[in-house]
Amino acid sequence: MITIACYNLKGGVGKTASAVNLAYLAAQGGASTLVWDLDPQGAASFYFRIKPRIKGGTSGLFQRKRELDAVIKATDYPRLDLIPADFSYRNMDLLLEQQRKPGTRLRKLIKPLRSEYHFLFLDCPPSISLVSENIFAASDVLLVPTIPTTLSLRTLQQLVEFCDTEQYRHLKVIPFFSMVDRRKNLHREIVDQRDGVLKNAPLNYIPYASEVEQMGVRRAPVDTYAHASWAARAYREMWLELQPTLLALNRGGWQPQPARR
């Protein structure tokens, strides 16, 4: 199983949209895929029309009263499942504090899922806390959607530095441009220059597009209702571009498969 966290310190940068759309493409390509909506706001659960509630709440999971396996819900799409959000996730930091080895609880929790899924996408809450440390420890890839603005780049720089320690050496940080508005000079400049921490970022970027915003109304991945749109194509291209990196991780039996055209 490859664990991909869609993460950014900042909110509203397209984390959930990326997690939902890329996970959908992974499943379409033949991989069994799980999304864990870790954000108490429950946006990913909303997109999949699944109630943002898990039985027993967060404490039930941490106290091993309920296996993660039991709270998984099928989405409407083949091979794509979801662990819904729960409002109690907002207290996850506190609950983690009370655990032994609080920094790797999440990793331990998802371990039994390894043989069942090819991909686990973590849709992360925007913060840097014990929860995010758990996410870093549990993930193979940190996908960081980044809006091309000066402040965003600064935040990204901070994140890259934070992850550049012995503890997170296993973690592959992949920032990519999100919500790009080519009408804005600054966006254009930053995307075209691809300086510093974004030097090796994917060439594809996700545009600022109404099709993506429509997800809130349609409550479905972009590809299902706007397959031919620029945004849907951008996600497909992005997923394809990520394949060699994922393959190089060499996790289990999985090898990349092309998304359906």
């Binding site: 390509g29 033949g30 099928a74 083949p78 090819h118 090898q255 990349p256 498969q257 092309p258």
Partner: protein, 527 residues
């Protein structure tokens, strides 16, 4: 995905009426009708079936998908979307991924061939909550078999209830309604079996292993005919695939059947009338020679990846012109020689006459010495004789012996192996299998040695031919020299290993074992 529950419907049930009924009475939401095409695939020798699997190609409005299924519960092991429609294909042509990996390890060099084609008319209904989230699905399906001429025949109508993870209670509720209100019967998913039966396919009906059941007191000529008829059936089963070159193993199995036939004609000679034997020996020798070239080329191509691996990485790509050359030669030999001859008069006549002979009534007073004797006596004698010959030949081999002597021993071992396999059913199963295994150890070594010896001289020959055709660059020359050096090293390793392998084969305990099987008379005093 959760396992679907299958309910049978009557053949004359109207699916749209069912759809309307479930919509009205069970509160399900109906979706537009879909048309699917499902093709089952396996290799000619049923390798997927033997592993408890099958491959399906599912074509719908969304595209084409290959699914590897477990036969026991129709669960999906791996899926890959594809865009091809080939009638025959190899896993190596599929997109890199889990499905391909699994298929490659199960199938090796064998091609996937279509077994049965189904058309499915499908109405899907789903149960949804207030948010519009689907919590269970119901498929109403009319499944038809499409025969070779494109005609459809209705196989079954069925209802599939698909529970969704995390919402299984909803499906349970629907299932209860189906069983109680509509009196529907839950059944096992028999589609694979049904589809294949309707298409006239019997899973596992071909294997390259010989399984001939004989009785010891049968007349030798009758028993040997039974052996030969089995081999003839193998030849014929592989004929079309050999001519069409579907994959390399059709020819391989065809050739093995021919070689076994020749071996029977040669080693059981006193069972046949001499003139008949001479005639068929000559004709089968022709067939053996005819198929030899293409098989050799097939072997080089099958080994090509190993060839690449045997030389330094930087030279590997320079070896590719050799592959192209081998492929070209293989195609040429296959299509211009082998396929032409197998469609020709001489082969057709051989088949007719062979069949007529094998099915002719047995002579009341046969002239051939062994014909009317009990087969077990003949089997003991001939096998024992061949075993002694192999021992003698092997004992005479020293470190300085020329390769031809090992080659002779290899041929004797092969003949011995064939005799043991023909008459396997006359011996205690465990014992005969153990001795075949011992023999195989030696054969593998002799086979390696011989193959390498032949390959080295063939490759030298190919190098000259490639040079003549202008396909031999300096770089390719270097790569081929490296390959020849590597093969030569393997050759010496095989030669060095011979002594210990043979010592084991000729060891006292093994000799006693062979003697107890094939020459028990001396100790027992009977017969």
């Amino acid at each position: 995905m959760q396992k679907s529950l299958i309910y049978t419907l009557f053949r004359n049930d109207n699916l749209t009426r069912w759809r309307d009924r479930l919509r009205a009475e069970a509160g399900l939401v109906a979706n537009p009708v879909e048309h699917l095409q499902i093709v089952y695939y396996d290799s000619f020798d049923w390798r997927l079936y033997a592993a408890g699997k099958t491959l399906t190609e599912v074509r719908s409005a969304d595209g084409v998908e290959l699914r590897l299924l477990r036969l026991v519960d129709q669960g999906i092991e791996a899926v890959v979307p594809v865009d091809m429609t080939a009638q025959r294909f190899f896993p190596s042509g599929l997109p890199v991924g889990e499905l391909r990996q699994q298929l490659e390890s199960l199938l090796e060099m064998r091609a996937l061939l279509p077994l049965a084609t189904l058309r499915v008319r499908r109405y899907t209904l789903h149960e949804e909550d207030r948010e519009g989230k689907t919590r269970a699905r119901v498929h109403l399906e009319a499944v038809s078999l499409v025969d070779a001429s494109g005609k459809r025949r209705l196989l079954q109508k069925r209802l599939c209830l698909q529970p969704l993870r995390g919402y299984t209670r909803i499906a349970q509720g629907i299932g209860k309604k189906l069983e109680q209100d509509y009196r529907l019967q839950k059944v096992e998913d028999e589609l694979y079996r049904q589809a294949l039966a309707a298409a006239g396919k019997q899973p596992g009906d071909y294997s390259d292993k010989l399984d001939i059941q004989l009785q010891g007191d049968m007349r030798a000529d009758a028993a040997v005919r039974q052996v030969l008829l089995t081999l003839f059936a193998v030849m014929q089963a592989n004929e079309a695939g050999t001519i069409a070159d579907l994959d390399s193993e059709f020819l391989h199995d065809f050739r093995v059947a021919v070689r076994r036939t020749r071996s029977a004609l040669g080693e059981l000679k006193h069972v046949f009338p001499p003139s008949t034997r001479q005639r068929f020996k000559r004709e089968f020798a022709w067939l053996g020679a005819l198929t030899g070239n293409v098989r050799d080329l097939d072997v080089y191509l099958l080994k090509f990846d190993a060839y690449r691996a045997a030389i330094p990485a930087r030279l590997r790509n320079d070896l590719e012109p050799l592959r192209t050359f081998l492929q070209y030669k293989q195609r040429q030999e296959q299509s211009q020689q082998l396929a032409v001859q197998l469609r020709g008069r001489r082969y057709r006549k051989l088949k007719q006459q062979w069949q007529r002979y094998l099915e002719s009534p047995l002579a009341k007073r046969p002239t051939a010495r062994d014909a009317a004797r009990p087969v077990d006596k003949v089997a003991h004698e001939r096998t024992w004789r061949m075993y002694k010959r192999a021992l003698k030949e092997g004992m005479a081999i020293t470190a300085d012996s020329p390769p031809t002597e090992l080659h002779e021993l290899r041929k004797s071992c092969k003949k011995l192996r064939y005799l043991m396999e023909f008459f396997q059913s006359l011996y205690p199963p465990g014992k005969i299998r153990a001795s075949i295994k011992e023999l195989k150890q030696l054969q593998d070594n002799l086979g390696d040695f011989q193959d390498l010896d032949v390959q080295i001289s063939s490759l030298r020959h190919f190098a000259m031919e490639m040079r003549r055709r202008g396909e031999y660059s300096v770089a390719t020359g270097k790569a081929m020299d490296a390959l020849l050096t590597a093969l030569d090293t393997h050759l010496h390793q095989a030669r060095d290993e011979f002594e210990s392998r043979f010592a084991r084969f000729a060891g006292d305990s093994n000799q006693a074992h062979f003697k107890s099987l094939f020459h028990p008379a001396e100790d027992g005093g009977a017969a």
